[in-house]
Symmetry: C2
Subunit: 439 residues, 2 copies
């Protein structure tokens, strides 16, 4: 077990253990996602704002300039939109087995999202649900193409009844978007796909330009610039969340398979930065997991980056009392929470209050949720599971209150309403009720 990874071992008994955990998480956020705190990040955040304002005011021209500056691609506004021919070609050329897997994933997501969608027919009188009309999806295109992002954002929207979905993705693949992403868009009948990215793409979606229609809501992952621009746009459009680095917290005991737990931790840190924490009640198990990590890491494509993510951001916490581990997991509010504790796994899941998604048992690695099971993989990170939800079809509907009073009902309540309005100094409010009581 002797290895440089030993430094990720933390005992729960250490008085500063929580502080230590928080610091590790904060470090990952500070380096990549913290919006302020260092002079450099302050400056960058103001830069995001300038880009957003500039695009909101100058439209396409500004988008073209920032695309040249940051993506180093020269595009005329009429070239932002990927042609129908390019979408069709990508769909024709995609590997056939991969397309089959994609289609089945789409079906799985559709089925799950339909099940959890608020039943508009069964809602009580007094509230009405309607789908949002136009949605924009941010699809990352930097390190690896992520066609699954399109599925996990677009299908919930389609299930909710969104009429128009557009996608933006930076031109990182031969000055355009990776063909696998285009193929998935075509499969989902998304025909407005723009090869623009970064803060400029978010601003274009939020305010609209000469060639791009304003949307009502923007969802999806993206780097720091995309996330911060989403925050700038919040209020002008709906925004799903502000996402930081991906993370998994695993609660496991000796009933779990250490090699599988190790593989799950590695799959999370592979996102570089990605954060993986193991909370266990067994010293022996912790040691076995670390051994397995050391063994498996050698077989991966990017062992050095992964080792860095493990050492700097990840942790293995040992504490005998399972209740304390659960309490800590709730405090942590992880994006992904795996529970591998044999028969007790479901019972522990019942005690979890804060998590983006919970993966129960030995056969539910995060990858099942990332690609397949049905819930969206767009999940709240960095403690935001305390207030944000997993993206779902319900994020693409909105509610309207319905109020309908009869003459009699208003008459019954008139004195109270008038009294309340007058107490607030709003005499015209009071009068709007009073006038209906006359004659």
């Amino acid at each position: 077990m002797a290895s440089e990874l030993d430094q990720i071992l933390i005992s729960y008994d250490q008085p500063d253990f929580r502080e230590n955990l928080r610091e590790r998480r904060k470090k990952s956020l500070l380096e990549k996602y913290q919006p302020f705190g260092t002079p450099e990040s302050n400056q960058n955040l103001n830069l995001v704002r300038q880009i957003v304002w500039d695009v909101a005011q100058r439209g396409d021209k500004a988008v073209a300039e920032y695309t040249k500056k940051y993506d180093d691609v020269d595009l005329k506004p009429e070239e932002f939109l990927v042609s129908q021919a390019a979408l069709e070609e990508a769909h024709k050329k995609i590997n056939n087995d991969l397309l089959k897997s994609i289609c089945q994933a789409i079906e799985n997501v559709k089925k799950y999202q339909k099940e959890i969608l608020i039943d508009k027919e069964k809602t009580p009188f007094g509230i009405k649900y309607t789908p949002i009309k136009r949605v924009g999806i941010c699809v990352p295109g930097a390190s690896a193409p992520l066609p699954s992002t399109v599925i996990m954002c677009a299908v919930p929207a389609q299930v909710a009844g969104v009429e128009e979905i557009v996608a933006v993705s930076p031109p990182k693949c031969n000055d355009s978007i990776h063909p696998d992403i285009l193929a998935v868009c075509h499969e989902l009948k998304i025909d407005k796909v723009y090869r623009i990215g970064g803060a400029q793409a978010v601003a274009a979606l939020a305010w609209g330009t000469e060639t791009i229609n304003k949307v009502d809501k923007i969802v999806g992952p993206g780097n720091w610039w995309v996330q911060m621009a989403k925050r700038e746009a919040f209020g002008y459009v709906g925004v799903d969340s502000v996402a930081g680095p991906s993370e998994v917290l695993i609660i496991a005991n000796e009933k779990a398979n250490p090699a599988w737990v190790a593989a799950d931790m590695l799959s999370q840190v592979e996102h570089t930065p990605g954060l993986a924490w193991l909370l266990t009640n067994s010293k022996k198990f912790a040691a076995q997991v670390l051994d397995a990590i050391n063994e498996q890491i050698k077989q991966l494509l990017r062992p050095d980056e992964i080792t860095k993510s493990l050492k700097e951001y990840s942790a293995v916490v040992i504490e005998k009392n399972m209740e304390k581990l659960i309490e800590n997991a709730n405090d942590f509010a992880a994006e992904h929470l795996e529970i591998q504790c044999g028969d007790e796994s479901r019972k522990i899941a019942d005690q979890i209050e804060n998590a983006g998604a919970i993966f129960i048992g030995d056969y539910s690695p995060v990858a099942v949720g990332d690609y397949w099971a049905g819930p969206s993989h767009t999940l709240p990170t960095g403690t935001s599971a305390k207030f944000f939800s997993a993206l779902s079809a319900n994020d693409f509907i909105k509610s309207t209150s319905i109020i309908e009073y009869s003459k009699e009902k208003l008459a019954e309540s008139a004195d109270d309403i008038i009294r309340l309005a007058e107490a607030e100094g709003l005499d015209a409010h009071a009068r709007s009720v009073q006038i209906r009581q006359q004659k």
Copy 2:
């Protein structure tokens, strides 16, 4: 009918009528709420950011300094919290009839919010709902005390199961908060009430200070500074919306009572700025409403401010085709939408897709919703009803996805998941599934 108010009359046939309407709305936003566009608003927005960052980093000390600077009240950090004695005293001294009305309003809101709350027991397997733990409420205190805000924000949170609710309100009433607001807080058992306001209060709630615990979500109305600070905090905490001036859009025909419609328009513009639009298919009715406005305005407490709001931001639109009016109402996405078209009112309501709240029929003025009916009066403004919902108990719960695969189910799906992960270059994801297929 001859009056300076004639300038709010717009005919739908005028080719620029939509532009004209948009301009009126924009003007109200620009003057009071638009976050950027003018050098002054750009500068103010950067100032909001500086205040927020400063409080996030220096805590109570910064809050005290800004309270001195902007509210002109000298408070030590231990004086931010309103004493238990002051809460009790306010509750004892409040007018007894008013308290009774308040208590009934609380009951009404509770009943409605319970009805529309997502039923946690009836949700399908695969999703879990939990309440948000700590919520902060912004209560305006500037022009008039608004105790109803406390009811309309706190009761939905309590119905959802929120454990801790704190309130902030600026020290505008004898260096503290208006006793009616304190009385309502005491009635609702909210014992943490801080006499701070503005961007500094929002930042204190979002990041926490030495004396104020960080909350998970911030809701409630407030002036431009409060709203912009909420946007800065979005992502660190949940935020309900970014709210602008209050507004009503009324669809009415000759079956409606012009005096009542006039009273409703006046009750909205009384918020100064408040916006009121009437869409009608009858020239005669429009003229009657304008006459009634002229008549009623004289009897109100603030006729000059109200006249300004009417002239600059409001409109009466005449168009014979009701379908066109409805289409325009959907485009407008008003905060409050009243429909006073006799028997047809419900049918028209069914065709409304975008609105914060719909008030159906002659006896449902906005004031019924503001104080009494049950839905929260915290509603999306400025077209944001296209993507935001009326605040409700459902805004205080969040969902967690649940994924639980068996050995067999994972085996069935393994090839597909591995294929999808490998297509994205995420080999550790693929391995986390592969390793569970061995032996």
